[in-house]
């Protein structure tokens, strides 16, 4: 395997509403920020992650390429997934050995439609979507199956909001947590907020990495695993795919100082913590995590970026970034980063 490192990370100051900027306009500042930080204007490979259904426009990622500058022609790809999977594709592409840098970005404006029902469109069209199962309903089924203690969930929500208020990029969610069920046992406060935003990462290999960044965050392990889509065919109380991805990425081969987990619902944190076998002293989501800002399709990439940032600034030497996709943590990606 070639050593691949995250050498730059940038994210928007996420908003809880549509500012009216187009996707390309929203992405542009973060692309420019990582270009400035690395000094690179061109990349061996470019890959993005987004979802056309958020804006309701086919191939919306193509117009977003305006922010990148695709002429003369660039080598580019896209995943209809969170930007974390775009990072995975770029990492694989860098393993080919013929290029030494890649630009990865993810973006989404979930304020434009009703995210709760838009996500119904991702479900199996024969058995699940016709029932009108929405994002919060499937999450509530997993919350019920997991049966996490309410006090533990309240503490996760409280901590995430407090950390988010300390993170200039996350939303300022009030200390006072609203009460009430969305879909019982899921409480309104357990749900990641509707957020618009974007993030970008630059990957580099070998000597280039050390030239571009004083403290590159090396990807020592990265893997993703998926499990059956149909909710009735899995044990919703645990995440088998996250556990297998963590084993494949080598999470347990050393201490984990910080883990940034893609928890769109409070109950997902204890499920993932168990799946990744994170020790009690691992700091979870010091950025506030998705419960403090959830720009869908960038949220997972931001987890990896935030994990890298701790290594860039020298506050940690081994961190984990996690991204999830699909209903009830169906698909999980785990990246282990080291100084």
């Amino acid at each position: 395997m070639r050593d691949v490192a995250i050498v730059a990370f940038a994210q928007t100051r996420h908003t809880d509403h549509d500012t009216g900027l187009s996707e390309a306009e929203m992405i542009l500042p973060v692309i420019n920020e990582v270009k400035e930080r690395t000094g690179l204007q061109r990349f061996g490979f470019t890959c993005s992650g987004s979802c056309d259904y958020l804006a309701g426009a086919p191939f919306s990622f193509v117009s977003a390429l305006d922010a990148v500058g695709a002429w003369p022609p660039i080598s580019e790809s896209h995943v209809e997934m969170d930007g974390a999977w775009a990072l995975y594709e770029a990492w694989v592409r860098l393993q080919h050995g013929d290029i030494d840098s890649a630009l990865v970005y993810g973006f989404g404006k979930s304020s434009l439609g009703d995210l709760r029902t838009i996500t119904t469109l991702q479900l199996d069209p024969y058995y699940l979507a016709p029932l009108g199962l929405d994002q919060l309903s499937v999450a509530a089924l997993q919350a019920a199956a997991a049966g996490v203690d309410r006090a533990e969930l309240d503490e996760i929500v409280r901590r995430s909001r407090a950390d988010g208020r300390g993170n200039p990029y996350a939303l300022d969610l009030p200390e006072e947590v609203p009460d009430g069920f969305a879909v019982e046992p899921l409480k309104t406060a357990d749900i990641a907020p509707i957020t618009d935003g974007a993030a970008a990462v630059v990957l580099a290999t070998g000597d280039l990495a050390t030239r571009l960044c004083p403290n590159p965050a090396y990807i020592r392990g990265i893997a993703h695993r998926i499990e059956p889509h149909y909710l009735g065919m899995r044990d919703l109380a645990r995440s088998t795919s996250a556990a297998e991805a963590a084993r494949a990425a080598g999470v347990g081969k050393g201490a984990v100082e910080v883990a940034e987990l893609h928890t769109q619902f409070a109950h997902e944190e204890p499920i993932l913590r168990r799946a990744l076998e994170l020790p009690g002293d691992t700091v979870i989501n010091p950025s506030g995590g998705p419960l403090a800002a959830n720009p869908v399709m960038a949220t997972g990439l931001i987890r990896i970026g935030e994990a890298a940032r701790r290594i860039h600034d020298g506050t940690a030497s081994r961190t984990v970034g996690h991204a999830a996709s699909g209903p009830c943590l169906q698909h999980n990606l785990v990246a282990v980063l080291e100084a």
């Binding site: 009216g20 024969y126 058995y127 009108g132 499990e227 009735g232 065919m233």
Partner: protein, 300 residues
């Protein structure tokens, strides 16, 4: 178009008018065909487990499933559930309901569907549920309208009709009411005055021979606020009270009206409110209710 805030805002709809046509393939097609016929089937995997709903490949091994279909259920056991307090337009039920994973009898996996459970506490894991079928079925997962818990209670209708005749003392009393007076009886032995009139003293057994006319004023000794509708009461809640007519020793049961239910109290002075004289019959219906007189309360 400019919105109220001056921003340029437009509505945008993404839609396949008439819906998007999908082929089912043989496995899902078989399941949906059986549903249309009112049966739920699973498919047996090479390992011998039964997948419900059937998939073309065993998610545990990736192997193609066998061609053996097994009828399951129709009842099953809830493994997990979530309660929808506010149903949304696309949901199967328009009243609060539960989502549940349901392990149908004979299946090794769980089906996800809605359960009409009544309240969020009614669907603990282990609860048995049965499908409620749609009348007109066309081969969709929604051919099962929803599931419902087992039948544990029914509502019995109880009604019988009788013909009652007021002879004796009651007849004398009602004849008095028909003239606008309350007729009681005074016991010659113990002196107690009873209204309505009785044939004998319930205390000492003496035959009562002395009739007394009592006024239509009295005092509330106790009362009840009734929240269940009653054909004899004008509205809910209504107050029924024991009213001790002046000069009587035994209270009469009657409605209290002309006052909010929460203001009725023991010791309150009341007077009968009679319906118009031309409508009088030998019946207590002559008295609409007793209403407060406004006099000071009486110490009981």
């Amino acid at each position: 178009m400019p919105s109220e805030s001056g921003a340029l805002v437009a509505r945008h709809v993404l839609e396949f008018p008439g819906g998007y046509t999908r082929t089912t393939g043989p496995v899902i097609g078989r399941f949906l065909t059986e549903l249309r016929a009112g049966r739920i089937v699973g498919v047996r995997t090479a390992e011998g487990t039964v997948l419900v709903p059937p998939l073309e490949y065993d998610p545990a091994t990736g192997d193609a499933v066998t061609s053996e279909y097994v009828e399951v259920g129709p009842a099953g056991t809830v493994t997990a559930s979530a309660w929808v307090h506010e149903p949304r337009p696309g949901h199967p039920l328009d009243r609060p309901f539960a989502w549940a994973t349901i392990k149908l009898d004979g299946a090794d996996t769980s089906l996800v569907h809605a359960v009409d459970a009544g309240n969020p506490k009614a669907l603990a894991p282990g609860t048995r549920v049965w499908p409620v079928w749609r009348q007109a079925r066309d081969g969709q997962i929604t051919d099962i309208s929803h599931f419902a818990p087992e039948v544990t209670k029914i509502v019995s209708q109880v009604r019988a009709e009788y013909r009652l005749q007021a002879g004796g003392a009651l007849g004398v009393f009602l004849e008095g009411v028909g003239r606008g007076v309350f007729i009681g009886g005074s016991c010659a032995t113990c002196g107690q005055v009873y209204v309505p009139l009785r044939g004998s003293c319930p205390e000492c057994g003496t035959v009562i021979t002395e009739q007394v006319e009592l006024p239509d004023t009295g005092t509330i000794t106790t009362f009840a606020i009734n929240n269940l509708p009653d054909p004899r009461a004008p509205e809910v809640p209504f107050v029924s009270a024991y009213i001790l007519l002046d000069g009587s020793d035994s209270p009469l049961i009657a409605l209290v009206g002309g006052v909010p239910a929460h203001e009725v109290r023991q010791g309150m002075r009341v007077r009968a409110e009679w319906i118009p004289r031309e409508e009088w019959t030998p019946s207590m219906a002559n008295v609409r209710w007793f209403a407060p007189t406004g006099e000071p309360d009486v110490e009981l």
